[in-house]
């Protein structure tokens, strides 16, 4: 049992298709209107059927008012970390502090290389991601003295000016499954953002993966609670319960509250392109889950009866 005690976030994972061009923006607006906390888009710059994720995030941010936005997750090998840091700060400033930075080490190396990116081995990609995170955090650290100097193996920044400082503490959330990346998250990230569908053992895998993060965090002198645990999920609403996240809204709430209380997951990002589902998730699942979690946390805080 590991609940890290964060507030719960509910969000959507919307296909950034460019046909019709406004599809993803419309669903971001719908997510915002429904009262969700977060809307996210995958980033595959080699995929011509998708929008460029950064452009889409910026455009969607300007069309929404309250919701936070993040890539899920950004393809670092095809984005320049120092420029990305400034872009992220800009967007956070323009949007009044609504950007979160989902980052990934890259995966489809053939496609990345075809686009003009650099092919890295899995191990190199982890190192590169860590350097990238350092560059980004250094650029954002506007108040530190002196220019940014990161003499990395993959990214070299020497003498770049610092800033701008984002409007809020932009969370760096990393998508990962393997121990090395999980340790990096424990050391250096603010959030972990895996997809339930990629866990071979389903939700039960979360315990072991969490442990990698927790261990690395402690070793780096951080609280495990410094890393928020988010999860991409999919499901469907049905009149009768059939399986995990396949049933009525009340059952969804129980399923999700279980994830919070058992595995410390406090960000639920639902893959959907359907407005009705978005509304039901926001109106029925989110409040019920929050209530269940609050009740249970209250009971725990009150101590054993």
């Amino acid at each position: 049992m590991s609940d890290y005690g964060h507030d719960l976030l509910f969000g959507t994972f919307v296909t950034p298709t460019n046909q019709p061009a406004a599809h993803a923006v419309d669903l971001a607006v719908a997510s915002d209107r429904a009262g969700l906390d977060l809307v996210t888009f995958q980033d595959h710059p080699y995929q011509p059927r998708f929008h460029d994720t950064w452009t889409l995030l910026s455009y969607a941010a300007s069309r929404t008012s309250r919701i936070h936005l993040s890539a899920n997750v950004l393809n670092l090998p095809l984005r320049q970390p120092a420029v990305l840091a400034r872009s992220a700060a800009s967007l956070d400033l323009l949007s009044g502090g609504r950007l979160e930075l989902g980052l990934g080490a890259g995966g489809f190396w053939d496609a990345i290389e075809a686009m003009g990116g650099r092919r890295l081995s899995a191990g190199q990609a982890v190192e590169a991601l860590e350097e990238g995170i350092t560059v980004i955090r250094e650029i954002w650290a506007a108040d530190k003295p002196g220019p940014v100097r990161v003499a990395g193996k993959y990214y070299r920044v020497h003498g770049a000016k610092r800033g701008p400082k984002p409007a809020h503490d932009v969370g760096i959330w990393v998508g990962a499954y393997k121990p090395r990346m999980l340790r990096l998250i424990g050391r250096a990230a603010d959030g972990w953002l895996p997809s339930l569908g990629y866990l071979p053992g389903g939700v039960e895998d979360l315990a072991e993966l969490n442990a990698h993060i927790d261990g690395a965090a402690v070793a780096a002198g951080r609280e495990p609670g410094a890393v928020r645990r988010l999860l991409n999920v999919s499901g469907r609403f049905a009149p009768t319960g059939r399986a995990f996240l396949d049933g009525p809204a009340e059952q969804w709430a129980e399923d999700l509250a279980g994830l919070t209380l058992e595995y410390g997951i406090t960000g639920f990002i639902l893959g959907t392109d359907d407005e009705y589902t978005i509304e039901a998730f926001a109106a029925e699942v989110a409040p019920a889950t929050r209530e269940l979690v609050a009740a249970e946390r209250g009971a725990v805080a009150a101590g054993p009866a």
Binding site: S90, L91, V135, G159, A160, G163
Partner: protein
């Protein structure tokens, strides 16, 4: 010299704080054509320009947006191209792309330098290398944006390598690529490859603008381009005052005097005002712009054009035999030629590839008549009439011919609520029609797919999910407006041109171009919508049982069945799509129950939903059809055991990949067969088979003729003349021929099941 571009005005705004957004919006309000921001990724007190541009795009509606100019060394050109296409799509075609080599030693980027770029992790390039890299970036971006080109992009440069990447997406408009710079090498590059030159006047000495233009023009000519393809954009700065104190320093009239020679003699097509002062922006917009436009028009021998300017490369793709330059002005504005950015969007239809020579997109009935007149001046070229582009029998695209695309005529209007009378344009898609009628609690039976267009379906029949209860789509038609072959615009209804009205309902494509349809629609609330998946191990038996249940079901229930060939070693599966015109769950379940007993089910989804939601499932995608569909169609009265056996053989032949049975009958059969040109009222099912190999499918299908009783022309691609006799019974066909002789004696309309006219026997109308 002046290069003949429409004169445009832009602003150049410091990309900082919230002010940048405010000033961009103000620029739009003031009528500027363009807002631009410099790009200094190494400068922390400025916004990231791309992010700001994207944000501003979301906060504006009309104004174009560009960087001034984008620093290429810190951006990945292939990713940049995708980003550019995205921003252009999201903004509705408002991105212009201005690129620069990065730093220039001579101060075009005053606080940028290779040191600053390198400090950010970018490459340090020498002056030649920087221009080479820029040239490569232009090629990569152009290659990526050339989404109509089917081959993947390969590019092996010194600086950038792209290895077989899928191109696209296609931007909304032809995104121009402008380059900034003053060096001779950059200018030559502009002449060779770019669509515009962006230059800051304050960085130039006297005579430099003219000298720069000359270098560009010579390089363009050497590359076989017309220098007029290249727009010259000049960044200017100044101050307003009561008295002239120098160049662009003084009252607006003095500004006009200063700028006039730049436009008339030095070819400036766009003036971009470097200014963060809202008052000066306003003053320039209100007092300089109109006066300067008037002065330029007065100074030039001919007024500047307003329509699209096609470059040499675009004109080179024109097809022979089309009088492109003879297009009337009204149509030229929206016409699409093979070299145009929109061509990949309009060349194909849903099921069929094509390469028309020109696609005309009229926006009114009068323009349809003009388009038709233009097409008639090219009697030897194929002419296609397109509404929603879902034609299977109808050839609404072609090779080298003319397409009249009615997509812009897509209004859905309620004419009279009491009688549920609505008027619908041919270019509307059925999903939009359904969505527009839904709030009234109405629906109009259409087909099974919301993407299909009104024009093609409502002139042929309209076999849909509400058919057994509400009849065919054409049974709801009360009047049409159409353009006839001679260019006249007529109405047809039971009382006006009744013969024509008869013919339009089933053979409309042969008689003219319908420009609006008036329907009486039905009251339809939410409906029961079922998708059932069956294991059809005994295919013939399954088909027979389906036929029995579907044809004896109550009229509120209409079911379509789709089957494909059984996969190796697995039983055949069948997918049933059915609609029950009832919002009552018990009724819906009761009507579906008999279907559920036909065979074991592996999937079962039943929902109560508005008709509009079922139609709404069709995605809004652009047509990407390739090749020619191979489809055969027939009516059967019932699914007899012999036909079921034959269908099983067909399905296991390996020739058919798609087989469909659509239940008709019910209200469709209530209508007198002579009442409309669609005459096969007694059919029980419409049967469709699609394949890849035309000859093999024809052979098999022809062998089934004993089971058939006519065909529905919309699903038939066989061009042999006998098919006409299958589509229309003898008396119907005779009457159609006579009417064709009367209304279209020259056989202008022949792209869809051509009925040849019987000349001159009838009296003229």
């Amino acid at each position: 010299m002046n290069y003949g571009h429409p004169l445009e005005f832009g602003t150049f705004i410091t990309p900082t704080g919230e002010d940048a957004v405010t000033l961009a919006r103000r620029s739009e309000e003031l009528g500027y054509d363009l807002v631009t921001f410099q790009d200094r990724p190494f400068q922390p007190d400025l916004h990231d320009t791309w992010t700001l541009m994207s944000w501003v795009a979301g906060r504006t509606e009309r104004i174009h947006i560009a960087a001034n100019v984008l620093s290429v060394p810190l951006r990945q050109p292939a990713v940049l191209a995708r980003a550019a296409a995205s921003l252009d799509l999201l903004s509705g075609g408002r991105l212009d792309l201005a690129l620069g080599a990065g730093a220039e030693p001579d101060g075009t980027a005053p606080d940028g330098s290779w040191d600053a770029i390198e400090a950010m992790g970018g490459p340090r390039l020498d002056p030649d290398g920087a221009v080479d890299a820029l040239a490569e970036a232009v090629d990569v971006v152009r290659g990526m944006l050339d989404a109509g080109e089917p081959t993947p992009l390969c590019f092996a440069g010194e600086h950038y390598r792209i290895d077989a990447v899928g191109r696209g997406p296609l931007p909304r408009h032809q995104v121009p690529i402008w380059l900034g710079g003053r060096e001779r090498r950059v200018l030559r590059l502009i002449g060779r490859k770019a669509d515009g030159w962006v230059v800051t006047l304050g960085h130039l000495g006297p005579g430099d603008l003219r000298a720069g233009n000359k270098i560009i023009d010579e390089a363009a000519a050497a590359a076989g381009r017309d220098p007029a393809e290249i727009r010259r954009l000049v960044n200017i700065a100044g101050t307003f005052g009561d008295e002239r104190r120098g160049f662009l320093q003084g009252p607006p009239r003095a500004w006009v005097d200063d700028l006039l020679p730049l436009a008339v003699e030095d070819g400036a097509g766009t003036f971009v005002l470097i200014c963060d002062d809202p008052e000066a922006l306003e003053r320039f917009a209100r007092e300089v712009v109109p006066a300067l436009r008037a002065a330029v028009d007065a100074a030039l021998p001919a007024p500047l054009p307003t329509g699209p300017v096609r470059g040499a490369a675009a004109r080179a793709k024109r097809r022979t035999g089309i009088d492109y330059d003879g297009l009337p002005r009204s149509l030229a504005r929206t016409a699409v030629e093979p070299g145009d950015i929109d061509y990949p969007r309009v060349r194909a239809n849903y099921m069929r590839g094509g390469s028309p020579g020109v696609v005309l997109r009229p926006g009114s009935t009068a323009e349809v008549a003009e388009a038709l007149a233009f097409a008639r001046r090219h009697p030897d070229l194929p002419m296609g009439v397109r509404s929603g582009g879902h034609g299977i029998s109808g050839r609404s695209t072609n090779d080298g011919g003319i397409v009249i695309d009615l997509g812009a005529l897509d209004a859905v209007e309620v004419l009279d609520e009491a009688t549920r009378r609505v008027r619908i344009g041919p270019g509307a898609r059925w999903k939009r029609v359904a969505a527009a009628l839904s709030p009234y609690g109405w629906a109009l039976t259409s087909g099974d797919y919301g993407g299909v267009g009104v024009g093609g379906l409502a002139t042929a029949g309209g076999i849909g999910f509400l058919g057994r209860k509400h009849g065919l789509t054409i049974d709801h038609l009360r009047a049409v407006e159409m353009v006839l072959a001679d260019g006249s615009v007529v109405r047809a209804s039971d009382t006006e041109n009744p013969d024509l009205f008869w013919a339009v309902r089933g053979a409309g494509a042969n008689f003219g171009i319908v420009t609006s349809f008036e329907f009486e629609v039905d009251e339809v609330g939410a409906v029961g919508w079922a998708q059932l998946g069956f294991v059809a191990s005994d295919m013939a038996g399954f088909l027979r049982r389906f036929g029995e249940v579907a044809s004896t079901a109550p009229r509120d229930t209409t079911a379509f069945l789709v089957m494909g060939p059984p996969r190796r070693g697995q039983p055949a599966v069948a997918q049933l799509y059915g609609m029950v015109d009832s919002a009552d769950p018990d009724t819906v379940i009761a009507q579906l129950q008999p279907f559920a007993q036909i065979a074991p089910m592996f999937q079962q989804e039943v929902v109560i939903a508005p008709y509009a939601e079922v139609m709404g499932m069709a995605p809004d995608a652009e047509h990407q059809g390739r090749g020619e569909p191979v489809s055969r169609s027939a009516f059967v009265r019932e699914v007899t055991p012999a036909f079921a056996q034959a269908a099983e053989r067909l399905l296991t032949s390996g020739v058919v990949y798609f087989f469909q049975l659509r239940t008709v009958g019910g209200a469709v059969a209530d209508v007198d067969p002579d009442a409309t040109a669609y005459a096969h009222r007694d059919a029980g099912f419409s049967v469709i088979a699609m394949g890849v190999d035309r000859e093999r499918l024809d052979r098999l299908w022809d062998g089934l003729s004993e089971h058939f009783d006519g065909l529905y022309l919309s699903f038939e691609t066989d061009q042999r003349p006998e098919r006409l006799a299958d589509a229309f019974p003898p008396a119907t066909l005779r009457r159609l021929r006579e009417l064709k002789g009367r209304y279209d004696p020259d056989n202008v309309f022949r792209d869809n099941f051509n009925i040849r006219p019987i000349p001159g026997t009838e009296e003229k109308p």
